[in-house]
Subunit: 537 residues, 2 copies
């Protein structure tokens, strides 16, 4: 846990000491109700729950009966399990794999415009179905009076929500409890878009893999993406929750305002990775809070890694959601790997490519953080999910990115812009371009140096991000919210918010004044001319 | 230094423990060049300088020869003294007193519109003169090649600037050094207005004492204030610095961009006091960093205070800049004080009112923080400078505000909106309304309770604000800047920034498409009609 810092100038002597900068009032025995999202999101949330438990809080997690990652009860939490009707339920893991394979097939085969539109239409249908499922969870809870009463009786202090599926917001409103969001995604995309100003001129819209420096064409595209996201939000996602709000809270309550009214937004972001952009006083950045120093490897793994000698090794993993790529892609990857002197550890659950080199070890699971922190690691082949990216930044390991879904394209782009990653599109991946990418990252020291610089910046924080998350959750418990940090400007009409009415009024006044002045001058001229004319006559 | 927190719920057991949350990499032996602003601003800056010195940094302060508060050399800094020509030099203290008395006289006598306009015109003249003086400091430095070379040879690590008078920004640019701002005011008003989005619909413009909830008329007024501030900035303040930029850096450099390009903005603000509003990743809030627990009073003062018995005492101070009000106002104040059972300690340097009550002690100086932290204090009569306000918030003492100059009107309003202060305008002050205000604050517990609540929120921070300030200054030293936290969107043309070009383009496309569709329909109708007509004929 030693202090960390970047390179220091000639005149600076850096002393690594632990200084207690903080006098934090600890809160014991708080009660936290959690609405998580399954999959990789749960990995994050679970870590916070474990830490809350360790600090003496009681945690209750709401899950569906068919939840994939979120287990029923655990030493560090108790759970409320809600059974959804068969028709509503989605098996998430299969769902995403099917989805990905479909997309890759279309793109690699150079699908027609029609096939793309059809695909995106289906995607929107799936998005709608996921939110329908979440909203159904809400209905099942609201309809179960015994459950709601028992929740009320528990007297929770705060509701901790991953607003990727924001049904917990409605339950918190019903219980009149303050909310803390552990957020990366929200209905209309990246979390900031709901709560902070997002000028489309330099803030790339979600799903639009673009940097913060855009030319005119890119800014037009960005605006269109922004409008598209807003429409998806308004017509596909929100209606599911609006229905619940209408049903249980009546017409005076607005779902979007409930969403915007969260007390604290713990954003799983960090500005070594995210482009700098406007933020709000009630946003705390906890990107990389899951990162920690690596621990020793098992003896077999350590032996394999050491056998790489001076060449070191490469790690490959495509995350928790997608455990397999189509064989036609994996065999290209295997062929490229077979040509390098480095050893490779590849987390792969699909069919084994038969052209796998001797240097490549396929594993079903691996201690990713311990491998990323190993001194012999040279590069990380990743899909670009945020968990893996932050671990890679933390340990300063450059990335070869194969983005597959969602935000992964934007994530990898952010590192590419900073010279810390190289991208290979899965749809265009061949053994040649993949090998080129690996060799570039291995042999051009700038990738590693840039990642080391990001790592130094990322680690240099007044308070470690996990502590920061716990601090704000407890702050909300201590003060029953944090409304002094939250603007309620979102309750204004859009034309008031953007001062459209004021600008129109001022322009009207200016035009009236101009008209009066011009009119008076004209009138005077006219009178003067008339007076002269009789004289002339 | 014990932990502090607000009221806690029934189910929470609060344990006050010191927890080390932070592993901070300490930097010793850094070199800091400081450009302070005189007066109360210096009180703040000096505190940071003392702390930097205590952490082993060498500090060099740039001052003018006639500086009022900033002494030549000190145990904790060395100074660079620049002599300005007689004609440029302003004796700040006299200047502000003259200014205030003039304003109060006009307002109390119900001056004509002409006298107001004349007064504000003179005020703008003085503002211009202050900035001219600051820019002259820059010229004197740039022209002194020996001085500049010796500064260069010192190899400073960072330039710490109070951008109220932003000449240090030019010197930092010349030296190619990163900058940290210790800021409340900047050329166009409150610091945020230069660097963060400020929707005029809910962010009150500087010099406009308004809350964040505005009706249509107030929003119009706010927009006008915003435009006025922008004009003052553009035509009165910036030209002085633009001339320097032109002269020393050529036409490619823009003064305003240099200003906006600061690495870190340490804002002397806190959201228990400031209205919540958009912020930026490179802004750190250090409002109240000067606050500290009170120490025991001198025996005479303690005796006086204890003699107040159960009634307690009231403190009155109008800050460092203005040490005296006109006698006609002070005698009203004295008359009101004479009627209350509380004791009064009044810091007053002007003429002694002859109707002073026995309960009132006039002092030239007082240990304000120790008095504010005394258990017997009941209220604080203050002008509303930020230093006094933060000390009052820190100790939870409600305020009776007599705002006089600058931001004091806005400051007091912010506390009034939160129910922690009552305002009496100096121009309308009589013994009756002043007594009423005092009695309201003394006898209505809501003022004290609201201030206690603000105090609890203010003190509950992950890192104390002074530590935060030092952290970021050292961060900039360690990493030679903090550009990853700074957007450079300010370099965009305004119409790009606000997407005016994109919106116009999209509207044009939409209109063209509509025209084509409508045109085609018309054309078709026309053709159909023509075809039918011959048949009819």
């Amino acid at each position: 846990k030693g202090g960390l810092c970047g390179k220091t100038g000639v005149s600076l002597v850096v002393v690594l000491v632990s200084v207690s900068l903080m006098t934090i009032p600890s809160v014991h025995g708080g009660k936290v109700l959690v609405f998580p999202v399954d999959g990789s999101h749960w990995v994050n949330m679970n870590l916070i729950i474990q830490s809350l438990h360790a600090r003496g809080h009681e945690v209750t997690v709401v899950r569906t009966a068919t939840s994939w990652y979120i287990k029923e009860n655990a030493p560090h939490y108790r759970s409320i399990t809600v059974s959804l009707p068969e028709a509503i339920n989605i098996e998430e893991q299969d769902f995403f794999v099917t989805f990905l394979v479909k997309m890759l097939t279309i793109e690699r085969e150079g699908g027609s415009l029609f096939s793309f539109v059809k695909f995106y239409w289906e995607m929107l249908g799936s998005l709608s179905k996921i939110h329908q499922q979440a909203s159904f969870l809400g209905i099942k809870m609201f309809e179960n009076k015994t459950l709601m009463q028992s929740i009320r009786d528990t007297r929770f202090d705060v509701v901790l929500i991953d607003p990727g599926l924001p049904v917990g917001v409605l339950v918190a409103h019903e219980l009149k409890l303050p909310t803390v969001f552990n957020v990366r995604w929200i209905t209309s995309g990246e979390g900031h878009f709901v709560v902070a100003p997002c000028p489309t001129s330099y803030v790339p819209a979600s799903r639009n893999a673009m940097s913060d420096k855009m030319n005119f064409g890119q800014r037009v595209k960005n605006m269109l993406y922004y409008l598209l996201n807003t429409c998806i939000d308004k017509f596909i996602v929100c209606p599911h929750y609006d229905r619940l709000v209408d049903r249980y809270f009546g017409p005076d309550v607005n779902f979007y305002h409930l969403l915007q009214g969260a007390d604290i937004w713990l954003m799983r972001m960090d500005f070594v990775f995210e482009f700098p952009r406007p933020t709000m006083p009630n946003i705390a950045y906890i990107g990389g809070f899951q990162c920690k120093p690596s621990e020793p490897l098992s003896s077999e793994l350590e032996e394999f890694v050491q056998s790489s000698g001076e060449h070191g090794f490469i790690l490959m993993s495509l995350g928790t959601l997608v455990q397999g790529l189509p064989l036609e892609i994996t065999s290209e990857i295997a062929a490229a790997f077979a040509q390098i002197p480095q050893k490779v550890i590849w987390r792969h659950a699909g069919e084994r490519p038969n052209n796998l080199g001797n240097n490549t070890l396929l594993v079903k699971w691996m201690p990713q953080n311990d491998l990323l922190g190993h001194p012999k690691i040279k590069a990380f082949v990743a899909h670009g999910g945020t968990n893996g990216i932050y671990e890679s930044i933390y340990h300063g390991v450059p990335i070869i990115g194969i983005p597959l879904l969602f935000d992964q394209f934007e994530n990898i782009l952010r590192l590419e812009v900073r010279g810390a990653a190289k991208v290979v599109q899965a749809t265009e991946l061949t053994r040649h371009n993949f090998l080129e990418a690996i060799e570039a990252v291995l042999h051009n020291p700038s990738y590693r140096n840039n990642m080391k610089r990001l790592s130094a910046l990322h680690r240099d924080k007044p308070v470690p991000p996990l502590e920061m998350a716990l601090y704000w959750i407890e702050f909300v418990m201590r003060h029953k919210g944090a409304s002094h940090l939250r603007t309620e400007s979102y309750r204004m009409q859009w034309y008031c918010y953007y001062s459209v009415d004021v600008i129109c009024f001022l322009i009207a006044v200016l035009m009236t004044l101009t008209a009066i002045v011009v009119g008076s001058i004209k009138f005077l001229c006219f009178r003067l001319c008339r007076k002269r004319k009789p004289k002339q006559e």
